[in-house]
Point group: C7
Chain length 93, copies 7
Protein backbone atom coordinates (compact mmCIF):
# COMPACT_ATOMS: atom_id res chain seq x y z
CA UNK A 1 0.00 0.00 0.00
CA UNK A 2 1.10 3.49 -0.94
CA UNK A 3 0.95 5.79 2.13
CA UNK A 4 2.60 8.88 0.70
CA UNK A 5 3.34 10.15 -2.78
CA UNK A 6 5.24 13.30 -3.75
CA UNK A 7 4.73 14.31 -7.38
CA UNK A 8 6.38 17.08 -9.40
CA UNK A 9 3.72 18.26 -11.88
CA UNK A 10 3.67 20.72 -14.81
CA UNK A 11 0.17 22.16 -15.09
CA UNK A 12 -1.46 24.67 -17.43
CA UNK A 13 -2.85 27.75 -15.64
CA UNK A 14 -6.39 26.29 -15.71
CA UNK A 15 -7.92 24.46 -13.95
CA UNK A 16 -6.51 25.90 -10.70
CA UNK A 17 -4.06 24.11 -8.39
CA UNK A 18 -6.81 24.26 -5.78
CA UNK A 19 -9.38 22.41 -7.88
CA UNK A 20 -6.89 19.70 -8.89
CA UNK A 21 -5.92 19.23 -5.21
CA UNK A 22 -9.58 18.99 -4.23
CA UNK A 23 -10.22 16.38 -6.90
CA UNK A 24 -7.25 14.24 -5.81
CA UNK A 25 -8.39 14.55 -2.17
CA UNK A 26 -11.74 13.00 -3.12
CA UNK A 27 -10.25 9.82 -4.63
CA UNK A 28 -10.41 6.60 -2.61
CA UNK A 29 -7.59 5.88 -0.18
CA UNK A 30 -6.46 9.53 0.05
CA UNK A 31 -6.66 11.33 3.45
CA UNK A 32 -5.23 14.64 2.39
CA UNK A 33 -3.36 16.55 -0.31
CA UNK A 34 -0.88 19.39 -0.04
CA UNK A 35 -0.19 21.45 -3.18
CA UNK A 36 2.56 24.05 -3.40
CA UNK A 37 3.32 26.49 -6.19
CA UNK A 38 7.04 26.05 -6.93
CA UNK A 39 7.33 28.25 -10.03
CA UNK A 40 5.23 29.66 -12.85
CA UNK A 41 5.83 31.22 -16.25
CA UNK A 42 3.73 32.28 -19.23
CA UNK A 43 2.55 28.78 -20.11
CA UNK A 44 2.75 26.49 -17.12
CA UNK A 45 2.91 26.19 -13.34
CA UNK A 46 5.29 23.83 -11.56
CA UNK A 47 3.28 22.33 -8.68
CA UNK A 48 4.46 19.91 -6.02
CA UNK A 49 1.76 17.59 -4.68
CA UNK A 50 2.27 15.74 -1.36
CA UNK A 51 -0.49 13.12 -1.07
CA UNK A 52 -1.11 10.97 2.03
CA UNK A 53 -3.60 8.20 2.74
CA UNK A 54 -4.19 4.61 3.78
CA UNK A 55 -4.03 3.16 0.27
CA UNK A 56 -3.30 5.67 -2.49
CA UNK A 57 -4.03 4.44 -6.02
CA UNK A 58 -1.22 5.74 -8.25
CA UNK A 59 -3.08 5.33 -11.56
CA UNK A 60 -6.24 7.01 -10.25
CA UNK A 61 -4.29 9.97 -8.85
CA UNK A 62 -2.15 10.50 -11.95
CA UNK A 63 -5.31 10.02 -14.06
CA UNK A 64 -6.99 12.93 -12.24
CA UNK A 65 -3.89 15.06 -12.85
CA UNK A 66 -3.50 14.17 -16.50
CA UNK A 67 -7.21 14.70 -17.22
CA UNK A 68 -6.61 18.40 -16.47
CA UNK A 69 -3.96 18.59 -19.21
CA UNK A 70 -1.12 18.48 -16.69
CA UNK A 71 1.83 16.05 -16.77
CA UNK A 72 3.57 14.21 -13.94
CA UNK A 73 7.20 15.33 -14.43
CA UNK A 74 8.59 12.94 -11.76
CA UNK A 75 7.74 10.88 -8.69
CA UNK A 76 10.07 12.54 -6.17
CA UNK A 77 9.24 10.45 -3.13
CA UNK A 78 7.03 7.51 -2.18
CA UNK A 79 6.31 5.75 1.11
CA UNK A 80 4.76 2.25 1.09
CA UNK A 81 3.88 -0.35 3.70
CA UNK A 82 1.99 -0.40 6.99
CA UNK A 83 3.11 3.08 8.03
CA UNK A 84 4.80 6.15 6.55
CA UNK A 85 8.61 5.92 6.92
CA UNK A 86 10.50 9.20 6.57
CA UNK A 87 13.71 9.52 4.65
CA UNK A 88 16.75 9.19 6.96
CA UNK A 89 19.44 11.82 6.16
CA UNK A 90 23.00 10.38 6.06
CA UNK A 91 26.43 11.87 5.39
CA UNK A 92 26.28 10.35 1.89
CA UNK A 93 23.44 12.72 0.86
Amino acid sequence: MIRQLVLDVLKPHEPTMLSVAQEIAETDGVDGVNAILIEMDEEVRNIKFTIEGEDIDYDTVTGVIEDTGATVHSVDQVACGDRIVDEMPTPQD
Copy 2:
Protein backbone atom coordinates in the same frame (compact mmCIF):
# COMPACT_ATOMS: atom_id res chain seq x y z
CA MET B 1 -12.74 20.26 1.77
CA ILE B 2 -10.08 22.96 1.96
CA ARG B 3 -8.20 22.72 5.29
CA GLN B 4 -5.46 25.23 4.68
CA LEU B 5 -4.93 28.07 2.26
CA VAL B 6 -1.86 30.26 1.88
CA LEU B 7 -2.50 33.42 -0.14
CA ASP B 8 -0.07 36.09 -1.33
CA VAL B 9 -2.06 39.35 -1.32
CA LEU B 10 -1.35 42.92 -2.44
CA LYS B 11 -3.37 45.28 -0.25
CA PRO B 12 -3.76 49.05 -0.10
CA HIS B 13 -2.71 50.57 3.24
CA GLU B 14 -6.36 50.77 4.40
CA PRO B 15 -8.21 48.89 5.74
CA THR B 16 -5.55 47.39 8.03
CA MET B 17 -4.11 43.88 7.73
CA LEU B 18 -5.62 43.25 11.17
CA SER B 19 -9.18 44.12 10.16
CA VAL B 20 -8.96 41.99 6.97
CA ALA B 21 -7.64 39.04 9.02
CA GLN B 22 -10.47 39.46 11.55
CA GLU B 23 -13.06 39.51 8.77
CA ILE B 24 -11.66 36.35 7.15
CA ALA B 25 -11.59 34.67 10.59
CA GLU B 26 -15.33 35.27 10.97
CA THR B 27 -16.29 33.48 7.72
CA ASP B 28 -17.80 29.98 7.95
CA GLY B 29 -15.42 27.03 8.01
CA VAL B 30 -12.41 29.09 9.15
CA ASP B 31 -10.78 28.31 12.55
CA GLY B 32 -8.00 30.83 12.41
CA VAL B 33 -6.05 33.25 10.24
CA ASN B 34 -2.40 34.27 10.35
CA ALA B 35 -1.39 37.45 8.53
CA ILE B 36 2.22 38.53 8.05
CA LEU B 37 3.57 41.73 6.59
CA ILE B 38 6.10 40.66 3.94
CA GLU B 39 6.89 44.07 2.42
CA MET B 40 5.39 47.52 1.98
CA ASP B 41 6.00 50.54 -0.21
CA GLU B 42 4.28 53.85 -0.92
CA GLU B 43 1.15 52.31 -2.41
CA VAL B 44 0.69 48.75 -1.27
CA ARG B 45 1.48 46.13 1.34
CA ASN B 46 2.42 42.57 0.45
CA ILE B 47 0.64 40.37 3.01
CA LYS B 48 0.79 36.61 3.38
CA PHE B 49 -2.38 35.03 4.78
CA THR B 50 -2.28 31.47 6.23
CA ILE B 51 -5.88 30.35 6.75
CA GLU B 52 -6.90 27.10 8.46
CA GLY B 53 -10.30 25.54 9.12
CA GLU B 54 -12.57 22.54 8.70
CA ASP B 55 -14.07 23.67 5.38
CA ILE B 56 -12.68 26.91 4.00
CA ASP B 57 -14.74 28.49 1.22
CA TYR B 58 -12.28 29.87 -1.35
CA ASP B 59 -14.72 32.27 -3.04
CA THR B 60 -15.97 33.67 0.28
CA VAL B 61 -12.44 34.26 1.57
CA THR B 62 -11.14 35.85 -1.63
CA GLY B 63 -14.38 37.89 -1.80
CA VAL B 64 -13.65 39.34 1.67
CA ILE B 65 -10.11 40.21 0.53
CA GLU B 66 -11.13 41.73 -2.79
CA ASP B 67 -13.93 43.78 -1.20
CA THR B 68 -11.20 45.73 0.60
CA GLY B 69 -9.60 46.70 -2.72
CA ALA B 70 -6.84 44.11 -2.34
CA THR B 71 -5.89 41.47 -4.93
CA VAL B 72 -4.92 37.84 -4.49
CA HIS B 73 -1.54 37.74 -6.26
CA SER B 74 -1.19 33.91 -5.98
CA VAL B 75 -2.36 30.83 -4.11
CA ASP B 76 1.00 29.65 -2.74
CA GLN B 77 -0.17 26.54 -0.91
CA VAL B 78 -3.38 24.62 -0.32
CA ALA B 79 -4.21 21.55 1.78
CA CYS B 80 -7.43 19.61 1.08
CA GLY B 81 -9.03 16.44 2.37
CA ASP B 82 -9.84 14.95 5.77
CA ARG B 83 -6.75 16.40 7.43
CA ILE B 84 -3.98 18.93 6.78
CA VAL B 85 -1.02 17.28 5.01
CA ASP B 86 2.25 19.17 5.16
CA GLU B 87 4.57 19.54 2.21
CA MET B 88 7.31 16.85 2.23
CA PRO B 89 10.76 18.30 1.38
CA THR B 90 12.73 16.17 -1.12
CA PRO B 91 16.15 16.50 -2.76
CA GLN B 92 14.39 17.65 -5.93
CA ASP B 93 13.25 20.92 -4.25
Copy 3:
Protein backbone atom coordinates in the same frame (compact mmCIF):
# COMPACT_ATOMS: atom_id res chain seq x y z
CA MET C 1 -10.90 37.66 18.17
CA ILE C 2 -7.21 38.56 18.10
CA ARG C 3 -5.11 35.70 19.53
CA GLN C 4 -1.64 36.95 18.71
CA LEU C 5 -0.17 40.31 17.82
CA VAL C 6 3.44 41.08 16.87
CA LEU C 7 4.27 44.80 17.01
CA ASP C 8 7.43 46.62 16.00
CA VAL C 9 7.72 49.57 18.40
CA LEU C 10 10.07 52.57 18.68
CA LYS C 11 10.30 53.56 22.35
CA PRO C 12 12.18 56.26 24.24
CA HIS C 13 14.62 54.89 26.83
CA GLU C 14 12.12 55.52 29.64
CA PRO C 15 9.88 53.96 30.82
CA THR C 16 11.66 50.60 30.54
CA MET C 17 10.72 47.83 28.11
CA LEU C 18 9.95 45.74 31.19
CA SER C 19 7.40 48.15 32.62
CA VAL C 20 5.64 48.57 29.25
CA ALA C 21 5.47 44.77 28.87
CA GLN C 22 4.04 44.43 32.39
CA GLU C 23 1.39 47.03 31.66
CA ILE C 24 0.32 45.35 28.42
CA ALA C 25 0.21 41.97 30.24
CA GLU C 26 -2.32 43.41 32.69
CA THR C 27 -4.84 44.48 30.00
CA ASP C 28 -7.97 42.35 29.49
CA GLY C 29 -7.75 39.46 27.08
CA VAL C 30 -3.94 39.20 27.26
CA ASP C 31 -2.34 35.99 28.62
CA GLY C 32 1.28 36.93 28.15
CA VAL C 33 3.70 39.37 26.53
CA ASN C 34 7.20 38.80 25.17
CA ALA C 35 9.39 41.88 24.62
CA ILE C 36 12.75 41.74 22.85
CA LEU C 37 15.33 44.46 22.40
CA ILE C 38 16.11 44.52 18.67
CA GLU C 39 18.32 47.62 18.55
CA MET C 40 19.01 50.83 20.42
CA ASP C 41 20.70 54.15 19.75
CA GLU C 42 21.07 57.49 21.50
CA GLU C 43 17.40 58.38 21.35
CA VAL C 44 15.26 55.29 20.95
CA ARG C 45 14.99 51.55 21.39
CA ASN C 46 13.49 49.27 18.76
CA ILE C 47 11.41 46.71 20.67
CA LYS C 48 9.48 43.77 19.30
CA PHE C 49 6.38 42.81 21.30
CA THR C 50 4.76 39.36 20.84
CA ILE C 51 1.40 39.43 22.62
CA GLU C 52 -0.87 36.41 23.07
CA GLY C 53 -4.31 36.01 24.64
CA GLU C 54 -7.90 34.87 24.24
CA ASP C 55 -9.18 38.26 23.00
CA ILE C 56 -6.54 40.97 22.62
CA ASP C 57 -7.92 44.49 22.25
CA TYR C 58 -5.77 46.26 19.66
CA ASP C 59 -6.71 49.81 20.65
CA THR C 60 -6.16 49.15 24.36
CA VAL C 61 -2.74 47.60 23.77
CA THR C 62 -1.53 50.29 21.37
CA GLY C 63 -2.96 52.90 23.77
CA VAL C 64 -0.77 51.54 26.59
CA ILE C 65 2.25 51.70 24.28
CA GLU C 66 1.56 55.18 22.96
CA ASP C 67 0.87 56.56 26.45
CA THR C 68 4.55 55.92 27.20
CA GLY C 69 5.62 58.14 24.31
CA ALA C 70 6.42 55.16 22.09
CA THR C 71 5.07 54.60 18.56
CA VAL C 72 3.87 51.42 16.87
CA HIS C 73 6.09 51.34 13.76
CA SER C 74 4.26 48.34 12.19
CA VAL C 75 2.01 45.39 12.88
CA ASP C 76 4.30 42.58 11.68
CA GLN C 77 2.02 39.63 12.35
CA VAL C 78 -1.48 38.96 13.64
CA ALA C 79 -3.41 35.75 14.35
CA CYS C 80 -7.21 35.88 14.66
CA GLY C 81 -9.99 33.36 15.13
CA ASP C 82 -10.71 30.45 17.45
CA ARG C 83 -7.06 29.41 17.70
CA ILE C 84 -3.59 30.69 16.86
CA VAL C 85 -2.57 29.66 13.32
CA ASP C 86 1.13 29.81 12.54
CA GLU C 87 2.50 31.16 9.29
CA MET C 88 3.16 28.35 6.78
CA PRO C 89 6.52 28.76 4.99
CA THR C 90 6.30 28.17 1.21
CA PRO C 91 8.83 28.28 -1.65
CA GLN C 92 7.38 31.67 -2.62
CA ASP C 93 8.74 33.30 0.59
Copy 4:
Protein backbone atom coordinates in the same frame (compact mmCIF):
# COMPACT_ATOMS: atom_id res chain seq x y z
CA MET D 1 17.74 -7.80 14.21
CA ILE D 2 17.93 -5.11 11.57
CA ARG D 3 15.48 -2.27 12.38
CA GLN D 4 16.47 0.25 9.75
CA LEU D 5 18.42 0.09 6.52
CA VAL D 6 19.38 2.99 4.24
CA LEU D 7 20.50 1.87 0.77
CA ASP D 8 21.92 3.92 -2.10
CA VAL D 9 20.69 2.19 -5.29
CA LEU D 10 21.33 2.67 -9.02
CA LYS D 11 18.23 1.57 -10.92
CA PRO D 12 17.29 1.43 -14.60
CA HIS D 13 14.25 3.57 -15.48
CA GLU D 14 11.98 0.50 -15.42
CA PRO D 15 10.46 -0.92 -13.29
CA THR D 16 9.46 2.26 -11.45
CA MET D 17 10.81 3.37 -8.06
CA LEU D 18 7.25 3.00 -6.80
CA SER D 19 6.89 -0.64 -7.80
CA VAL D 20 10.29 -1.57 -6.29
CA ALA D 21 9.32 0.21 -3.03
CA GLN D 22 6.00 -1.64 -2.96
CA GLU D 23 7.73 -4.97 -3.47
CA ILE D 24 10.24 -4.33 -0.65
CA ALA D 25 7.36 -3.22 1.62
CA GLU D 26 5.72 -6.61 1.16
CA THR D 27 8.72 -8.66 2.34
CA ASP D 28 8.62 -10.16 5.84
CA GLY D 29 9.87 -8.04 8.72
CA VAL D 30 9.41 -4.73 6.86
CA ASP D 31 6.92 -2.14 8.23
CA GLY D 32 7.50 0.58 5.67
CA VAL D 33 9.74 1.83 2.87
CA ASN D 34 10.61 5.38 1.85
CA ALA D 35 12.08 5.89 -1.63
CA ILE D 36 13.51 9.21 -2.82
CA LEU D 37 14.74 10.18 -6.27
CA ILE D 38 18.20 11.66 -5.71
CA GLU D 39 19.28 12.09 -9.35
CA MET D 40 18.61 10.69 -12.81
CA ASP D 41 20.31 10.71 -16.17
CA GLU D 42 19.81 9.00 -19.56
CA GLU D 43 20.46 5.49 -18.29
CA VAL D 44 19.86 5.25 -14.57
CA ARG D 45 18.16 6.71 -11.52
CA ASN D 46 19.92 7.14 -8.18
CA ILE D 47 17.35 6.18 -5.54
CA LYS D 48 17.72 6.25 -1.77
CA PHE D 49 15.67 3.64 0.10
CA THR D 50 14.99 4.03 3.86
CA ILE D 51 13.54 0.74 5.10
CA GLU D 52 12.19 0.17 8.62
CA GLY D 53 10.76 -2.91 10.33
CA GLU D 54 10.94 -5.32 13.22
CA ASP D 55 13.35 -7.74 11.54
CA ILE D 56 14.51 -6.73 8.06
CA ASP D 57 16.15 -9.49 6.03
CA TYR D 58 19.07 -7.93 4.17
CA ASP D 59 19.43 -10.65 1.54
CA THR D 60 15.70 -10.72 0.77
CA VAL D 61 15.55 -6.93 0.40
CA THR D 62 18.66 -6.67 -1.77
CA GLY D 63 17.40 -9.67 -3.75
CA VAL D 64 14.17 -7.82 -4.59
CA ILE D 65 16.22 -4.80 -5.69
CA GLU D 66 18.71 -6.75 -7.77
CA ASP D 67 15.95 -8.79 -9.47
CA THR D 68 14.81 -5.52 -11.08
CA GLY D 69 18.26 -5.05 -12.66
CA ALA D 70 19.24 -2.44 -10.10
CA THR D 71 22.42 -2.52 -7.99
CA VAL D 72 22.97 -1.62 -4.34
CA HIS D 73 25.72 1.02 -4.59
CA SER D 74 26.24 1.25 -0.79
CA VAL D 75 24.68 0.62 2.60
CA ASP D 76 24.70 4.18 3.98
CA GLN D 77 23.17 3.51 7.37
CA VAL D 78 21.92 0.58 9.42
CA ALA D 79 20.26 0.33 12.83
CA CYS D 80 20.21 -3.03 14.65
CA GLY D 81 19.06 -4.29 18.03
CA ASP D 82 15.90 -4.02 20.13
CA ARG D 83 15.09 -0.48 18.97
CA ILE D 84 16.15 2.03 16.32
CA VAL D 85 19.06 4.18 17.57
CA ASP D 86 19.63 7.43 15.69
CA GLU D 87 23.06 8.68 14.76
CA MET D 88 24.41 11.16 17.36
CA PRO D 89 26.05 14.20 15.71
CA THR D 90 29.40 15.17 17.31
CA PRO D 91 31.97 17.89 16.62
CA GLN D 92 34.14 15.25 14.91
CA ASP D 93 31.61 14.89 12.05
Copy 5:
Protein backbone atom coordinates in the same frame (compact mmCIF):
# COMPACT_ATOMS: atom_id res chain seq x y z
CA MET E 1 4.16 39.19 36.79
CA ILE E 2 7.59 38.66 35.23
CA ARG E 3 7.94 35.03 34.03
CA GLN E 4 11.21 35.28 32.17
CA LEU E 5 14.09 37.71 32.12
CA VAL E 6 17.17 37.66 29.90
CA LEU E 7 19.98 39.91 31.11
CA ASP E 8 23.28 40.78 29.49
CA VAL E 9 25.74 41.30 32.36
CA LEU E 10 29.38 42.45 32.61
CA LYS E 11 30.96 40.80 35.65
CA PRO E 12 34.41 40.90 37.23
CA HIS E 13 36.14 37.50 37.36
CA GLU E 14 35.14 37.03 41.00
CA PRO E 15 32.75 35.97 42.40
CA THR E 16 32.17 33.15 39.87
CA MET E 17 29.30 33.02 37.38
CA LEU E 18 28.20 29.87 39.22
CA SER E 19 27.89 31.55 42.61
CA VAL E 20 25.97 34.52 41.17
CA ALA E 21 23.58 32.12 39.38
CA GLN E 22 23.06 30.17 42.60
CA GLU E 23 22.29 33.35 44.51
CA ILE E 24 19.75 34.53 41.92
CA ALA E 25 18.14 31.05 41.95
CA GLU E 26 17.51 31.40 45.68
CA THR E 27 15.53 34.66 45.42
CA ASP E 28 11.73 34.52 45.75
CA GLY E 29 9.70 33.88 42.62
CA VAL E 30 12.61 32.33 40.68
CA ASP E 31 12.35 28.66 39.55
CA GLY E 32 15.64 28.42 37.73
CA VAL E 33 18.57 30.34 36.28
CA ASN E 34 20.71 29.62 33.24
CA ALA E 35 24.07 31.41 32.96
CA ILE E 36 26.24 31.29 29.86
CA LEU E 37 29.73 32.63 29.32
CA ILE E 38 29.55 34.74 26.15
CA GLU E 39 33.05 36.26 26.21
CA MET E 40 35.83 37.15 28.60
CA ASP E 41 38.92 39.35 28.62
CA GLU E 42 41.49 40.52 31.14
CA GLU E 43 39.06 42.48 33.28
CA VAL E 44 35.53 41.23 32.79
CA ARG E 45 33.28 38.38 31.70
CA ASN E 46 30.21 38.93 29.55
CA ILE E 47 27.53 36.61 30.97
CA LYS E 48 24.01 36.04 29.72
CA PHE E 49 21.48 35.14 32.42
CA THR E 50 18.13 33.53 31.47
CA ILE E 51 15.91 33.59 34.57
CA GLU E 52 12.49 31.92 34.81
CA GLY E 53 9.90 31.80 37.58
CA GLU E 54 6.33 32.47 38.67
CA ASP E 55 6.96 36.05 39.80
CA ILE E 56 10.50 37.33 39.28
CA ASP E 57 11.34 40.51 41.18
CA TYR E 58 13.48 42.66 38.86
CA ASP E 59 14.98 44.87 41.56
CA THR E 60 15.88 41.92 43.80
CA VAL E 61 17.55 40.05 40.94
CA THR E 62 19.50 43.05 39.64
CA GLY E 63 20.41 43.88 43.25
CA VAL E 64 22.00 40.43 43.67
CA ILE E 65 23.96 40.98 40.47
CA GLU E 66 25.11 44.50 41.28
CA ASP E 67 26.14 43.54 44.83
CA THR E 68 28.84 41.38 43.23
CA GLY E 69 30.29 44.40 41.44
CA ALA E 70 28.73 43.39 38.13
CA THR E 71 26.55 45.64 35.95
CA VAL E 72 23.40 44.84 33.98
CA HIS E 73 24.41 45.97 30.47
CA SER E 74 20.91 45.43 28.99
CA VAL E 75 17.59 43.66 29.44
CA ASP E 76 17.52 41.66 26.19
CA GLN E 77 14.19 39.91 26.63
CA VAL E 78 11.33 39.81 29.11
CA ALA E 79 8.13 37.72 29.29
CA CYS E 80 5.27 38.88 31.54
CA GLY E 81 1.74 37.73 32.27
CA ASP E 82 0.05 34.44 33.16
CA ARG E 83 2.41 32.34 31.03
CA ILE E 84 5.69 32.63 29.15
CA VAL E 85 5.10 33.76 25.55
CA ASP E 86 7.95 33.13 23.12
CA GLU E 87 9.07 35.64 20.55
CA MET E 88 7.42 35.00 17.15
CA PRO E 89 9.91 35.31 14.27
CA THR E 90 8.56 37.32 11.30
CA PRO E 91 9.98 38.34 7.91
CA GLN E 92 10.55 41.83 9.35
CA ASP E 93 13.25 40.53 11.74
Copy 6:
Protein backbone atom coordinates in the same frame (compact mmCIF):
# COMPACT_ATOMS: atom_id res chain seq x y z
CA MET F 1 27.17 2.73 33.64
CA ILE F 2 27.78 3.62 29.97
CA ARG F 3 24.48 4.57 28.28
CA GLN F 4 25.77 5.83 24.97
CA LEU F 5 29.00 5.46 23.05
CA VAL F 6 29.95 7.10 19.75
CA LEU F 7 32.98 5.50 18.08
CA ASP F 8 34.88 6.55 14.97
CA VAL F 9 36.11 3.29 13.39
CA LEU F 10 38.36 2.43 10.44
CA LYS F 11 37.25 -0.91 9.01
CA PRO F 12 38.41 -3.09 6.14
CA HIS F 13 35.75 -3.69 3.48
CA GLU F 14 34.93 -7.12 4.95
CA PRO F 15 33.14 -8.09 7.09
CA THR F 16 30.33 -5.65 6.28
CA MET F 17 29.31 -2.66 8.42
CA LEU F 18 25.96 -4.43 8.82
CA SER F 19 27.40 -7.62 10.26
CA VAL F 20 29.63 -5.71 12.72
CA ALA F 21 26.62 -3.63 13.84
CA GLN F 22 24.56 -6.81 14.31
CA GLU F 23 27.31 -8.39 16.39
CA ILE F 24 27.65 -5.33 18.64
CA ALA F 25 23.84 -5.23 19.05
CA GLU F 26 23.92 -8.76 20.43
CA THR F 27 26.38 -7.99 23.26
CA ASP F 28 25.02 -7.64 26.80
CA GLY F 29 23.82 -4.22 27.90
CA VAL F 30 23.30 -2.92 24.34
CA ASP F 31 19.76 -1.93 23.22
CA GLY F 32 20.60 -0.75 19.73
CA VAL F 33 23.38 0.23 17.34
CA ASN F 34 23.42 2.80 14.55
CA ALA F 35 26.18 2.53 11.94
CA ILE F 36 26.81 5.19 9.31
CA LEU F 37 29.22 5.12 6.37
CA ILE F 38 31.19 8.39 6.63
CA GLU F 39 33.75 7.76 3.86
CA MET F 40 35.46 4.94 2.01
CA ASP F 41 38.52 4.49 -0.18
CA GLU F 42 40.42 1.59 -1.76
CA GLU F 43 41.46 0.02 1.54
CA VAL F 44 39.16 1.08 4.34
CA ARG F 45 35.76 2.42 5.35
CA ASN F 46 35.32 5.13 7.97
CA ILE F 47 32.26 4.10 9.99
CA LYS F 48 30.61 5.95 12.84
CA PHE F 49 28.90 3.72 15.42
CA THR F 50 26.32 5.18 17.85
CA ILE F 51 25.63 2.55 20.52
CA GLU F 52 22.96 2.86 23.21
CA GLY F 53 22.00 0.58 26.11
CA GLU F 54 21.46 0.20 29.83
CA ASP F 55 25.05 -0.85 30.59
CA ILE F 56 27.40 -0.94 27.60
CA ASP F 57 30.65 -2.80 28.17
CA TYR F 58 33.40 -0.80 26.45
CA ASP F 59 35.95 -3.62 26.24
CA THR F 60 33.40 -6.12 24.89
CA VAL F 61 32.20 -3.70 22.21
CA THR F 62 35.69 -2.64 21.10
CA GLY F 63 36.71 -6.34 21.20
CA VAL F 64 33.94 -7.20 18.71
CA ILE F 65 35.12 -4.36 16.47
CA GLU F 66 38.81 -5.20 16.66
CA ASP F 67 38.18 -8.93 16.05
CA THR F 68 37.01 -7.96 12.56
CA GLY F 69 40.37 -6.31 11.82
CA ALA F 70 38.97 -2.81 12.35
CA THR F 71 40.43 -0.17 14.68
CA VAL F 72 38.71 2.30 16.99
CA HIS F 73 40.13 5.63 15.75
CA SER F 74 38.53 7.69 18.57
CA VAL F 75 35.79 7.76 21.17
CA ASP F 76 33.90 10.88 19.98
CA GLN F 77 31.18 10.96 22.62
CA VAL F 78 30.14 9.02 25.70
CA ALA F 79 27.16 9.32 28.06
CA CYS F 80 27.32 7.68 31.49
CA GLY F 81 25.09 7.55 34.57
CA ASP F 82 21.44 6.82 35.28
CA ARG F 83 20.20 8.36 32.03
CA ILE F 84 21.55 9.64 28.70
CA VAL F 85 22.49 13.35 28.94
CA ASP F 86 22.81 15.19 25.63
CA GLU F 87 25.57 17.64 24.91
CA MET F 88 24.48 21.23 25.61
CA PRO F 89 25.58 23.65 22.84
CA THR F 90 27.10 26.91 24.18
CA PRO F 91 28.56 30.02 22.55
CA GLN F 92 32.03 28.67 23.38
CA ASP F 93 31.65 25.77 20.91
Copy 7:
Protein backbone atom coordinates in the same frame (compact mmCIF):
# COMPACT_ATOMS: atom_id res chain seq x y z
CA MET G 1 21.15 23.68 43.67
CA ILE G 2 23.20 23.12 40.52
CA ARG G 3 21.14 21.19 37.91
CA GLN G 4 23.44 21.43 34.94
CA LEU G 5 27.09 22.22 34.44
CA VAL G 6 28.99 22.54 31.17
CA LEU G 7 32.77 22.44 31.58
CA ASP G 8 35.51 22.96 29.03
CA VAL G 9 38.39 20.71 30.12
CA LEU G 10 41.97 20.15 28.93
CA LYS G 11 42.95 16.56 29.70
CA PRO G 12 46.07 14.48 29.16
CA HIS G 13 45.54 11.42 26.95
CA GLU G 14 45.29 9.15 30.00
CA PRO G 15 43.11 8.34 31.83
CA THR G 16 40.48 8.10 29.07
CA MET G 17 37.57 10.53 28.61
CA LEU G 18 35.32 7.54 29.26
CA SER G 19 36.78 6.70 32.65
CA VAL G 20 36.66 10.36 33.78
CA ALA G 21 33.02 10.57 32.68
CA GLN G 22 32.20 7.36 34.55
CA GLU G 23 33.84 8.67 37.69
CA ILE G 24 31.93 11.98 37.56
CA ALA G 25 28.67 10.03 36.96
CA GLU G 26 29.21 8.16 40.22
CA THR G 27 29.45 11.30 42.40
CA ASP G 28 26.45 12.26 44.54
CA GLY G 29 23.78 14.45 42.98
CA VAL G 30 24.76 13.58 39.37
CA ASP G 31 22.21 11.77 37.14
CA GLY G 32 24.26 11.64 33.98
CA VAL G 33 27.35 12.92 32.19
CA ASN G 34 27.95 13.59 28.51
CA ALA G 35 31.55 13.89 27.31
CA ILE G 36 32.50 15.02 23.82
CA LEU G 37 35.92 15.13 22.18
CA ILE G 38 36.26 18.66 20.78
CA GLU G 39 39.89 18.52 19.65
CA MET G 40 43.14 16.71 20.40
CA ASP G 41 46.83 17.25 19.73
CA GLU G 42 50.13 15.65 20.78
CA GLU G 43 49.80 16.50 24.46
CA VAL G 44 46.16 17.11 25.38
CA ARG G 45 42.52 16.53 24.53
CA ASN G 46 39.93 19.28 24.73
CA ILE G 47 36.81 17.64 26.21
CA LYS G 48 33.43 19.21 26.84
CA PHE G 49 31.51 17.74 29.79
CA THR G 50 27.74 18.31 30.14
CA ILE G 51 26.72 17.17 33.62
CA GLU G 52 23.12 17.00 34.87
CA GLY G 53 21.64 16.04 38.23
CA GLU G 54 19.45 17.03 41.15
CA ASP G 55 22.24 18.66 43.16
CA ILE G 56 25.65 18.69 41.50
CA ASP G 57 28.57 19.46 43.81
CA TYR G 58 30.95 21.73 41.88
CA ASP G 59 34.01 21.11 44.04
CA THR G 60 33.54 17.33 44.03
CA VAL G 61 33.15 17.22 40.24
CA THR G 62 36.11 19.50 39.52
CA GLY G 63 38.11 17.52 42.11
CA VAL G 64 37.49 14.29 40.17
CA ILE G 65 38.62 16.03 36.97
CA GLU G 66 41.71 17.63 38.46
CA ASP G 67 42.77 14.38 40.19
CA THR G 68 43.32 12.94 36.70
CA GLY G 69 45.79 15.71 35.87
CA ALA G 70 43.24 17.59 33.78
CA THR G 71 42.32 21.28 34.20
CA VAL G 72 38.94 22.99 34.02
CA HIS G 73 39.58 25.64 31.33
CA SER G 74 36.19 27.36 31.82
CA VAL G 75 32.65 26.94 33.11
CA ASP G 76 30.71 27.56 29.87
CA GLN G 77 27.19 27.16 31.19
CA VAL G 78 25.42 26.49 34.47
CA ALA G 79 21.77 25.99 35.39
CA CYS G 80 20.68 26.36 39.03
CA GLY G 81 17.39 26.27 40.92
CA ASP G 82 14.38 23.95 41.08
CA ARG G 83 14.55 22.99 37.40
CA ILE G 84 16.88 23.28 34.43
CA VAL G 85 16.26 26.51 32.51
CA ASP G 86 17.60 26.62 28.96
CA GLU G 87 19.33 29.64 27.50
CA MET G 88 16.90 31.84 25.53
CA PRO G 89 18.39 33.03 22.20
CA THR G 90 17.81 36.75 21.52
CA PRO G 91 18.75 39.12 18.68
CA GLN G 92 21.50 40.49 20.90
CA ASP G 93 23.46 37.18 20.78
